[in-house]
């Protein structure tokens, strides 16, 4: 979606990421997703009378790592209380950071060369999780509400971008790049579907050169796709509203993934008053130079660096190879792919197998050794295995490890002998004289037709390159 000439979309994103610490932010409870409700809780994260918070230093380490990568200024910071009533917030205030966040300023460069400024990346605690039964599924009108406090007190970093984003595609690219950084720093697992990375989008439109328009904050963006769609929808809605002589009202809007629409959630008639004040139960946070150096020294390569390293190995990459490269870096398979390329495997083959077969079975990736991956791909490259067979060998490796040659042998993946393949090709040529004639006249597309026929007959046992070789001998 693009706005008409002369109009501009303005987006700023607030990304909340749960930090991948062993324990919660202010107590010793496990920070784990998926446990039985209200089992990872204690007096502190339940906010029981008399309990006090003690800061988890590991959460500070991870927040600083994010700040380092985002080129933020890391400095003296404090915690504040953000006061408001909500049943999933046990103390009825959230411990957050206010005027002195741990990370101030910074920027993130995107693949397309654009730069998005970062206003701040601060630490705060997560709330519990409410489930509203009956009614609309939201708190208003629900028959009853259940609260799970396992998430209460899980450390979060909120990363606030400047209003620098000008398209839904750029918003998506920003979120994707940020997600890669969060994973690469070890700060987060980046799992949007589990809520460990959550995005709110502030969206407004304006005529070029005019002041910023009134913005709406969109919530419930649970995937990069939702982010993209919701921004497009909202931009169009605001543009039409203004075009029809209306005005955008500042409000919080809810994205409905099924309807593909945003709808009013809460109207901001006046600015919220959270009565922020310094959290008296915590002391100042002073990340001194030595601490910052330790964090900087512990950082590995970021996605942008790793993308560059892999890109350097591709000659004139196609767009599908670039897509595969994205996936490979995103999932952290880039070292494996580089090792395969170093060992002589064709870069496009290594990328394709990693971005497809390995990505599809990521939970079992620990079973696959680099050597086995490389060996399998070399067998495929030398036509000792067909593509289908190579994929099946990879599948077997992912589900139990082992030696690729032994697996291929045990599955009976002996390549068809050239005699037998030649005979099959002869038969098929006889059965399809028209196609053969067109192939002989130079229509190369027909090669694929014959490969498909051979695969059908041999149940995928043949190697495509070998088929082409047989066809060309008879041309």
């Amino acid at each position: 979606m693009t706005l008409p000439e002369g109009w501009e979309l303005v987006v700023g994103l607030e990304v909340h990421t749960e930090l991948k610490t062993t324990t919660k932010m202010f107590c010793g409870c496990a920070n784990a997703f998926g446990a039985e409700p209200n089992t990872n809780v204690c007096p502190v994260c339940l906010g029981l009378p008399g309990s006090l918070p003690v800061l988890n230093v590991r959460a500070v380490d991870l927040a600083m790592a994010i700040g380092c990568v985002l080129h933020s200024t890391i400095g003296f910071s404090t915690f504040h209380r953000k006061n408001y009533f909500y049943p999933d917030m046990p103390k009825d205030f959230q411990i957050s950071q206010y005027d002195l966040p741990i990370n101030s300023g910074g920027y993130l460069d995107l693949l397309d060369g654009s730069r998005v400024s970062i206003e701040r990346a601060h630490l705060e605690e997560d709330t519990g999780k409410s489930t509203h039964l009956g009614g609309s599924g939201r708190i208003h009108g629900a028959d009853r509400s259940l609260v799970d406090y396992n998430r209460s007190g899980v450390p979060l970093v909120e990363i606030v971008s400047g209003p620098d984003i000008r398209s839904s595609a750029q918003a998506r690219a920003y979120a994707s790049e940020l997600r890669g950084i969060l994973i690469a720093t070890g700060a987060s697992d980046g799992r949007m579907e589990e809520g460990s990375m959550r995005i709110d989008a502030n969206v407004s439109v304006r005529k070029l050169g005019e002041e910023l328009g009134t913005r709406c904050e969109i919530k419930n963006l649970n995937s990069l796709r939702s982010l993209h769609r919701a921004i497009d929808y909202e931009a169009q809605r605001q543009f039409e509203l203004i075009g029809n002589g209306g005005a955008v009202r500042q409000e919080t809007r809810h994205w409905d993934e099924n309807l593909g629409e945003t709808s009013t959630m809460r109207v901001k008639e006046e600015a919220d008053d959270y009565r922020y004040f310094r959290e008296p139960d915590l002391v100042d946070l002073v990340p001194d130079e030595a601490w910052q150096q330790r964090i900087r020294g512990s950082l590995g390569a970021m996605p942008a660096d790793r993308r560059r390293a892999l890109l350097a190995r591709l000659d004139n990459p196609t767009s599908s190879q670039l897509d595969a490269l994205e996936v490979v870096v995103d999932l952290g398979f880039d070292e494996l792919v580089l090792a395969a390329i170093d060992a002589g495997v064709d870069a496009s083959l290594a990328l394709a197998r990693a971005a497809n077969e390995l990505a599809a079975d990521i939970d079992n990736i620990a079973n696959l050794t680099p050597d086995a991956f490389i060996e399998t791909l070399k067998m495929e490259q030398s036509a000792a295995l067909s593509a289908t067979q190579a994929k099946l060998v990879l599948l077997a490796l992912l589900h139990g490890g082992g030696d690729p040659r032994a697996i291929a042998a045990s599955k009976g993946f002996e390549q068809l002998s050239s005699d037998s393949l030649g005979a099959t090709v002869e038969t098929l040529i006889a059965e399809h004289p028209d196609e053969w004639a067109r192939y002989r006249d130079g229509d190369e597309k027909l090669a694929q037709f014959f490969i498909g026929q051979v695969m059908k007959v041999t149940k995928g046992q043949a190697n495509g390159k070998a088929v082409i070789s047989e066809l060309q001998q008879r041309r």
Binding site: P43, L46, G47, L48, P49, G50, S51, L52, P53, V54, L55, R81, N83, F85, P87, P90, K91, D92, F93, I139, H140, S145, V147, A271, D273, R275, Y276, F277, P280, D281, L282, V283
Partner: protein, 474 residues
Amino acid sequence: MKSARQISSDVRSGASTAEAEVAASLAAIAAKNDELNVFLFVDEEEALRTARGIDERVSRGEQVGALAGVPIALKDNLCKVGVPTTAGSRILKGWLPPYNATVVDRVIAAGAVAMGKTNMDEFAMGSSTETSAYGPTRNPLDPSRVPGGSSGGSAAAVASDMTPLSLGSDTGGSIRQPAALCGLVGVKPTYGLVSRYGLIAFASSLDQIGPFAKNVEDAALLLEVIAGHDVMDSTSLPENAPALVARLNDGVAGKRIGLVRELIEGADEDVVNSVNQAADALRDAGATIVELSIPELRLGLSAYYLIAPAEASSNLARYDGVRYGLRVDANDVAAMNEATRTAGFGAEVKRRIMLGTYALSAGYYDAYYGQALKVRTQMINAFQRAYLDVDLLLGATAPSVAFEFGAKTGNPMMMYLSDVFTIPTNLAGDAAISVPFGVGEGGLPVGVQLLGPGRSEAQLFAAGRVLELAQAPS
């Protein structure tokens, strides 16, 4: 009643048993609690079981701690597993904590026996124990008068010989003022010296737990047990508990002690007389008394009544009916929150929540809460300047002796003035001790207050000991 030191010594030597001491405490509680309303909950069975356990350990020759067999009363804002803890409020009626306050763990580890929970002003907001949802506590020295507050129950427990020791909390004078009104020693330790973990918060930056005792030595003994770093409290000082008992007889010879005009200004004549006599006693013991003025102290009360309610408005938000304590059902969550808090909190608590909410609100923050923080900084600086010249400061603890029920409940400002001399120490995070010295109107005790910089407890106890000895019958 025997001192805590004596009981512990007798229990360890076999001259007495913990069970006998606890039984004597239970008998005293049974005899007087109906009249005085000191204990909200008496943990009789658990106390006797604990006492027998201590006696068994003594008989096996095991170490049993500095407070072996000593009955102790706990203010009802200190959490103890499975023991009803209300902070004097209807909103927490029936709540059973699943965890122990650090101080509770420490006194138990030292062999003390927790007898139960004592009455207090609701959420420690008051100076007379009259705001308790469970009725007022009477002053054992004159049951027509208040024991002071907010730790009135803990003061009355010791003053009525129910227990030789008790724990209170002091946010603006809630230990020292009732100690003064009940003729006891009461201590507000340096902020961070005693862990607040498990203390139901009133105003987090001001709250400190401290001891009540009949004499300086017992108070020192108890503070040694509860003080020292605790990983569960981020504001806890890093060091171990200071040695206090060993330095009790250090005296005050060569010390410079400032008699502060603002800490007697407006006090009743009998109180002023006692403070002057205390100054004489300290001078007789070799101290130099310097009369001085710290004008900033006059701003303490105003700053306190912005900072403490502001923090309280946030600390008390959690009593919303969702998870524990009282719940008054209503149509939706917000209405349930409101109905619960309307029914569960008393008038003084509501007043302070509203004051604090207002002081923190956008548009008012700078004029109220922000300004109060500046005053607080001025107060800290003023004390620091004073301590460049003198070692300790001297003044009154409270403006009057114990007053009658209802005397100040109609006028909150009058009640707030009860703490005008104690509040500055809390704002500064410093230490102070109230020691009974002389008698005033109605033959009631007067408390004098010794103030010192942070970590000056050993000096304060030594000076308090001098005042104690000066009154001892020769």
